[in-house]
Every structure is written in C-alpha cells, then in structure tokens.
Amino acid sequence: MDEITTVRELRDDAPVPDHARLSPGRQRLTDAMDHRSARLRVWGDWRITSVGAAAAVAAAVLVGTQLAGDAADTPAHPAASNVQQAPDLSDASALLLRAARTAAAQPDPKPRDGQWVYQQTVRGHETGPPPAPKRQESWTLYNDPQFEDWKEGDDHSHGERYEFLAALPEDAEGIFERAREFYPQDPKAPAKEPEALHNFGAATVLLGTYPAPPEGMAKVLRALAELDGMKAVDHLVKDAKGRPAVALFLESAFMYGMRDELLFDPETLRYVGGRTVATEDSDPGSEGPPMKKGDILINGLVSEAALVDKEGQRPPGVEKPEGGASGGLPLESFENMESEDGGSRGKRYVIPVDPEEGGTGRDTGTFKEPESLKEASPKEAEPYTSAEAVQPGERR
C-alpha cells in the first residue's frame, strides 16, 4: 500500500460539519461585512502568522510575564495609590533600571525537567473587535525535546530559555550578542534590520520567558537600559486587561509602520506584557487590512503562569478561562475599541489620531449611532465618543 493512502486513512472518520456547526462562523463573517465601511477590522491572529517580522513580536506579546498568577489579577492601583508619585516618563533608561530591580527581586520558580508550563494569556484593548478566543490557556513541557537543539528553528524550549538566561554575561554588549545568536534574524526577511532593533526584538522575546531566573531577567532589562533609542510613551497606556501601564519602545525608522512596546506596571515597573501599535497609516496589501496610525494591533499579556506536574493540570485557584481555550468567544459588539491614547471608546467606529501630535484632537465629539453607516464612505463615517485618556498620575 502506498504511503499516501495510509496518510489519507488517518483521521478519515472526521465528520463533515453540519449547518449548526458552521453557522456561528458564518455569522461572524456577515457581522464583519455589516461593518465594512466602518473601517473596522478584525485583528485575528492572521497577522502573527502572515507577517514574518511580526512572528517574534507576537510570541513575545503572547508569552508575557515572569511574575504572573495572583499578582497579575490584583488591581494594580488601589485607591491608596493616589498618593503615589507618577513615574517619570521622560527617562526610559531609569525606568528600565527600576524594572530590573523589580525583576531581580522575584522568586526563582526553580523548574525541573518533566514539569509542564501552564500559561493563560489575555488579549484585549485592541483596535477592532476582540480576537477570539480572548483568553487562551496552554500547557507545554518544560524540556520538550522537539524544541531543543534548534529543531524548530529559534523556537526554544522553556528549559533552553531558562538556561540561556541563567548563563548571560554581565555586560550589555555581551548580553545582546548572545541574544542575537539565540534569536537570529530570519534569513528570508526582505531587508536586514538594524542591530539595535534586533537587540530590542530579541530582548522582547526574552522578557516573555517563563519560568526565568530572576537575575537573568534583570540582566536583560539592564541591557535594554543601555540601548540607545529606548523611549517611553509620554502617557500611561492600557494593558490587555485595561490597567494603566508604562510603555517603552525602541525608536527606529525600520518598523514598517509599526512599533512594539513593552508594558510595565506604573508603580513597581514589573514587566506585564506588550503591544504593537501602528505608527503611520499604511496598507499592507495582501498581508491584511489597512492600518491607521494609533491602531493597537496586538495587546497581550500572560495572566497566569505556573509550573505544574501534569499536562491539563491548573495551578491552585486558577479556573478554566471563560470561553475556553478553544471554545472561541462570540464577537462582542465593538465596545472595547481602543486607540493609542488608551481611552475607552465605547461604541466607536473610527480611530482618530492626529498624525502630527498623536494626541491633539482627541477627547472631542460625542458618539452618534451612525445610522447610514453602510452607505457612508469611510471618510464620512467617523463619529466617535469622547475618550478618557489616561494621563500620568491620573488614577481611574
């Protein structure tokens, strides 16, 4: 018997889905059509897989944070925090050094071979309808041999990443050199990215390591503090759960109209996750829908991370996420649409960001239900609600 026949027989009993099974997907499609002229787009995860350059970004965004679990779910800003001093957003380097001290003070999870890494990721506060599912959970073997010894390209096992961080040298140059080797550039990339951006990208992925040795994480953050071009967004933004966050990024002209930002808790400078923001209007053509400056393309964090003994096991106190890892969420209405200024927009259809200032012109206008939205050209259909921009020092 020829091997193709054997392949064909595998899972050949998969059922043809019936109408009931397919209709929610059809509904999602027709919902998307209804809003076509509203310039809405669905940032499903297609971008993650179809834009090579974004792959590492996405991995970093979705892999998230060293200290998760309960701390991540505790409101970052109790009322008492009103007395806290707002972080100085003019000095990215100082912020990163504070982040390094926080990282160094975290406990070492002390992983062992054979353990499983449980993670629950959250996406949210992005431009456009929320991705489905918004929460996902995963179990991966700490020392999965399939992801070791470069068998899957630069997708290293958790164990390899832990060991890599544990063995980092002290100096920033040495750290970045090793990081570039560990996360090499895609040889098929259309253009070679500048070294600074490669350093930043590799560091971004490393910050998403869990489990990680605390001092290794601190080294990565200290190295970033020495990287020329690191900047902080001049106001607090929102993380995937809507909490205020300090956003740090590398200023670079080489980002195809997008920018990756690292998000930190404003008080402790604990690394919480990351997001990708459009920095100019652009039309990526076949790679996806057009983007407008200020669009939040991806906003993700890890809400829970823990070592467990068995696949399928959750750490104590952690429930299966609502909507499930594979269950998918219904498309919510578009109430969570957000833009670069971090404001909650209510039912809004267009994201206006002043191309010069990125900030002026916000907070104006009141929302009107666009009755003739379908007929309106994109230019005409631009009502929006007032945005509640989160400014440094403000607490909601």
Partner: protein, 189 residues
Amino acid sequence: MSDAAIIDESRERPEIFAQLYDRHAADIHRYAARRLGDTVADDITAETYLVAFRTRARFDTDRSSARPWLYGIAANLIGRHRRSELRALRALARTGVDPVAESWSDQVDTRVTAQAAHGPLAAALAALPARDRHVLLLVAWAELSYQEVAEALSIPVGTVRSRLNRARRKVRAALGVNPMVAHDVAEVS
C-alpha cells in the same frame, strides 16, 4: 458563478461573499478538524473567512477557484497551533489513542484506537518540518493538486514537488516500507 466572479462582485456587494462560505467552509472545517480537532476547527474556519473577506481585493481573479487561497489562509492559522498539533500526533504515536479523533467521536463510548500503522505514521508526521507537513496534508487530506498547493502556500510548483517527495520518503521509511520498492510500485501503478 465562479468563485472568482463572486469575489469580484463582492467588491461592490460584500454580502455575496457569504456564498463562498456556503461553498467551501465545510471542507475547510473538516481539514482543520483533521489537523487539530473539531473545536479548534470552528475558530480556524471562521477566522479563515474573516481574513479572506478583508483581503479579498488581493485575490487573483484569474484563478477561478478560491479553494487554494482559502486553504492557504487556513494553513497559516493552523500553523499557529503547531505545538498542540505535535502534541496530539506524539500522543497518538505513543499510546495509540488519538486526541484529535476523540474530539469528534462519542467520548462516553469506547476510546478511539487507531490502526496499527497510524502510530508510526503520526510519529513521522510530527517529525516533519511544518512546511513539509503542510504540503503533504494539503495533498492527502485536502486533495489539492500540486498547482493548487503552490497557490495556497505561495511557493513554486517545483518546491511543492520536492517537499512532497521528501515528506513521502520519510513517511515511507517510518512505515517500514523499502523506499525504493514503494517508489517503483507507485510509478508502475
């Protein structure tokens, strides 16, 4: 009306695009289900069409069928789930129980036990590079032609052939068939 004509028309009348869903969603769903289980297939099917709808302006309407294009989008989305795909294949190889097939079988009933050949086959599929696995399964499961696979994955037909040959050789070896003999037989028949 051809798929291409529908896509063309959908630039003026978006709602007509839903006809493509009615034509091909079941195939895309079944293919995704065979790779990842049927609940994941629900999402992949829906997302495939959302992506397709949003990028329809770039569809090459010289191609009459949208199937390769849709399978290509689905393959991209399936690629996101590589770890879980590999986990299931390795579980099947190790235990003879297929977690993916369990997703659609009655779980209260007896567990799905695969044929004897499926263990080594699953191990071989798991060991393939992702790009070779895409080609092999688009041919064997989605029943796309080489040309269609080339369109789906945006690669030259020659690359489809070489990836498929490599994948087949590895699968053959895993099934314990002499690669040379099997090759001859396949060519004669």
